[in-house]
């Protein structure tokens, strides 16, 4: 500090520098903030407003603070809401069970093939979501390459089908969101300091104890991030239910689509979206509180 106090010029220079340093974060975050304001906050406000309006396409929609849109949405579509949460939970659980060993193996035993293996997980996802789901429709069709062959050998009854069931929808969701679980898990496992693992072994820890006392706790932030990244889009998904589902498999995303595209009932569609968003946010909040999230920001 002392050398700056030499002359007045230096002092002014110093102040200017300090001011600039103080403002720098705001300048740096301005593009991001502007982006969020324009493409997140404004649409959100717009949607909140629409969800309280009444009217129809012909007469237009007017703001009437019609909160009944929310109670209507819940009373008409609670079945689909609950179903979406159940499908989303099961699918997320499946991705966790499948991804954890996968990510573990790549992180600890992948060696120089790590990047190749990660690329292999991601490779199918260079293809559009819808096309991938349509491919499953083709593969799993009643007389298709899998079921048709098994039926031909009389390993399955003739009227057996996978498509148009809740199993197909849940499996489709689990498949489509697998990388959202696998990648954060991999990052968390890869970051674990190997010397900690060695220390545990030096202290005569069994393999099982190393996993349950060292690796698993250290990978929890990855599990948290993975669950979050998978569950949120899984609950709102509508493509899988539309393509792989049958009767009584409709999810809330399909209802929102129907309300928006066929009925042009923008207020009800907006209210449904907000209820879904609120339910997810509350769930995440409770979940974050329960699990403790000190390290989450590193992953999310």
């Amino acid at each position: 500090m002392e050398q700056h106090l030499g002359t007045g010029v230096q002092l002014v220079e110093h102040r200017r520098l300090k001011l600039r340093r103080r403002l720098a974060p705001y300048f740096l975050s301005a593009p991001g903030s502007l982006w969020l304001l324009l493409f997140f906050l404004l649409p959100l406000v717009f949607m909140a407003s629409v969800s309280l309006q009444t009217g129809n396409l012909l007469q237009g929609f007017r703001m009437t603070w019609h909160f009944a849109n929310y109670s209507d949405a819940l009373s008409l579509y609670h079945v689909q809401f609950v179903r979406s949460l159940i499908y989303g939970s099961i699918a997320t659980g499946i991705t966790l069970v499948v991804s954890y060993p996968l990510a573990y193996w790549i992180a600890f035993h992948g060696g120089r093939y790590k990047n190749t293996l990660l690329l292999l997980i991601l490779l199918p996802f260079f293809v559009t979501f819808v096309i991938r789901t349509l491919a499953w429709e083709f593969i799993l069709s009643d007389q298709g390459i899998v079921l048709g062959t098994l039926k031909h050998w009389h390993l399955l009854p003739q009227n057996y089908h996978v498509l148009a069931t809740s199993t197909a929808v849940i499996a489709g969701i689990a498949y489509n969101y697998l990388p959202f679980m696998a990648l954060p898990l991999y990052v968390a496992l890869e970051k674990i300091d190997r010397t900690v693992v060695e220390a545990a072994r030096d202290l005569y820890s069994s393999n099982r104890a190393v996993f349950s006392h060292v690796i698993l706790p250290l990978s929890l932030p990855g599990v948290f991030a993975g669950l979050l990244l998978t569950f949120v889009p899984a609950v709102g998904d509508y493509v899988n239910a539309a393509i792989l589902g049958g009767t009584n498999n409709v999810m809330i995303g399909n209802i929102i689509q129907l309300k928006y595209l066929q009925d042009f009932d923008y207020p009800l569609a907006s209210a449904l979206s907000f209820i879904l968003m609120a339910a997810l946010l509350i769930g995440i909040f409770i979940y974050a509180r329960a699990l403790g999230t000190r390290q989450i920001e590193e992953y999310v």
Binding site: V45, N56, L58, F138, T247
Partner: protein, 416 residues
């Protein structure tokens, strides 16, 4: 919902729609600046209705004097459904008129297409199309009520008045053909795989009670499922009451909940029928024709596909050509409408797509010049007056409230 691998129509439209002018940009900037306070934002969020533009003035869009001012251009942007035209007639059109046609098969389903173009029209922007094809019933009614359809210039379509089938002249949904002329028509009937189904259903109720559990397809929209159900229950589609709607919905829900119905389909039902996922299904007449025809003549090559018109009567619907507001080349659209009502052209189209032709005199041309008696004599392409008399049309709703009540009964049936 089926989304093809095609280029996103929004991209096409972005590339083809008129550019935003400088004044529009300033206007938008002004709106943004004005909407600073929250209440102002909320105010701006209201979605304006468009009924004001419903009453056209003597000089407004679509009036005679407006049409007189429109100049012939050399471009036509035509939006239609996939596999719904003989592409060679577009070449003939270009050769005869010098108009270059950008033909886009961007319509897979009425409602999603409307959902895409209506916001643009509400903002006073063009759709990027000069000519679209949409079905009567909800979609066409909605577009006309919103005032988004340019009234036609009847002086430019002499072929329509000369050759059109009386059935498509002045239909209930568009009296006097003020806004639309029919592209093609079709029947909602019953399709089946004759290799697997030995005792095909002849009525809607037989379809619902068919022994092929989990192999029955139904339509999942608010006309093609409800209307046949009403006919099957013995009600008149147009005069039926909400109580009758509920009664007609019951057997459908029973078949859904006991596992007979596999799923409620959109256009994708035809793929499921072809690959054996469903064996019997509600079907649109021309689709089954195309599915059964050999690949060499443009069909799908599944000769076992058959169609039954339900004995209690089928639903007869019309896809209509219409010109969206702000179309850049409306004269080209009128010329195309007139062109496809020319009997030789209509014959080529009918012989290619196998839906009901709106030009009865095309039948002789298909029979004698194109030498295709199977199409010419098919009651599904050239039905007789007696065939048509047995049919009913889509429900025309009195008002928005009635449509909402209808939807509140039928939507829970097909999207549960």
């Amino acid at each position: 919902m089926r989304v093809g691998p095609d280029i996103d129509p929004a991209l096409w439209r972005g590339l083809t729609a008129r550019r935003v002018s400088r004044r529009d940009l300033f206007k938008a900037a002004g709106v943004t600046a004005g909407a600073m306070g929250l209440s102002a934002i909320l105010d701006a969020c209201g979605v304006a209705g468009s009924q004001a533009s419903k009453s056209p003035s003597a000089t407004g869009v679509g009036s005679q004097s407006w049409w007189d001012q429109q100049k012939k251009t050399t471009q036509l942007d035509f939006a239609n459904w996939p596999l719904y035209i003989d592409p060679s007639i577009l070449k003939t059109f270009t050769k005869q008129t010098g108009i270059n046609v950008t033909y886009q098969t961007v319509i897979n389903d009425n409602d999603p297409f409307l959902a895409k173009i209506i916001p643009a029209l509400q903002n006073g922007q063009g759709t990027g199309y000069d000519l679209c094809v949409n079905t009567n019933g909800g979609p066409m009614d909605r577009l006309i009520a919103l005032g988004f359809v340019i009234p036609l210039d009847h002086r430019k379509i002499p072929n329509f008045f000369k050759y059109a089938d009386p059935n498509v002249k002045s239909p209930t949904y568009d009296p006097g053909n003020k806004y639309t002329v029919t592209w093609q028509s079709g029947f909602t009937a019953i399709g089946y795989n004759s290799k697997e189904v030995k005792n095909p259903p002849k009525t809607f109720n037989e379809l619902l009670n068919s022994p092929y559990k989990g192999k029955v397809g139904m339509f999942g929209n608010n006309q093609d499922l409800p209307c046949p159900a009403l006919v099957a229950a013995g009600y008149d589609v147009q005069t039926s009451t909400p109580d009758q709607w509920k009664k007609a919905a019951e057997p459908v829900m029973r078949a859904r909940d006991n596992g007979t119905i596999r799923a409620f389909y959109d256009q994708s039902y035809i793929d499921s029928l072809e690959n054996g996922d469903i064996l019997v299904t509600q079907a649109w007449s021309g689709d089954i024709f195309i599915a059964a025809a050999p690949k060499s003549i443009g069909g799908d090559g599944y000769p076992e596909m058959r169609l039954n018109l339900p004995t209690e009567g089928s639903i007869y619907w019309h896809d209509n050509m219409w010109i969206p507001l702000h179309a850049q080349n409306p004269v080209s659209s009128m010329m195309m409408m007139n062109f496809v009502y020319d009997p030789p052209i209509a014959a080529r189209n009918a012989d290619f797509i196998w839906y009901v032709s709106p030009v009865p005199s095309a039948k002789d041309i298909v029979l004698n010049d194109l030498k295709d008696p199977s199409v010419a004599n098919s009651p599904l392409v050239f039905p007789t007056a007696a065939d048509i008399a047995k049919t009913q049309g889509y429900r025309v709703w009195k008002d928005q409230a009635e449509e909402e009540e209808w939807n509140s009964i039928w939507e829970p049936v097909y999207s549960s």
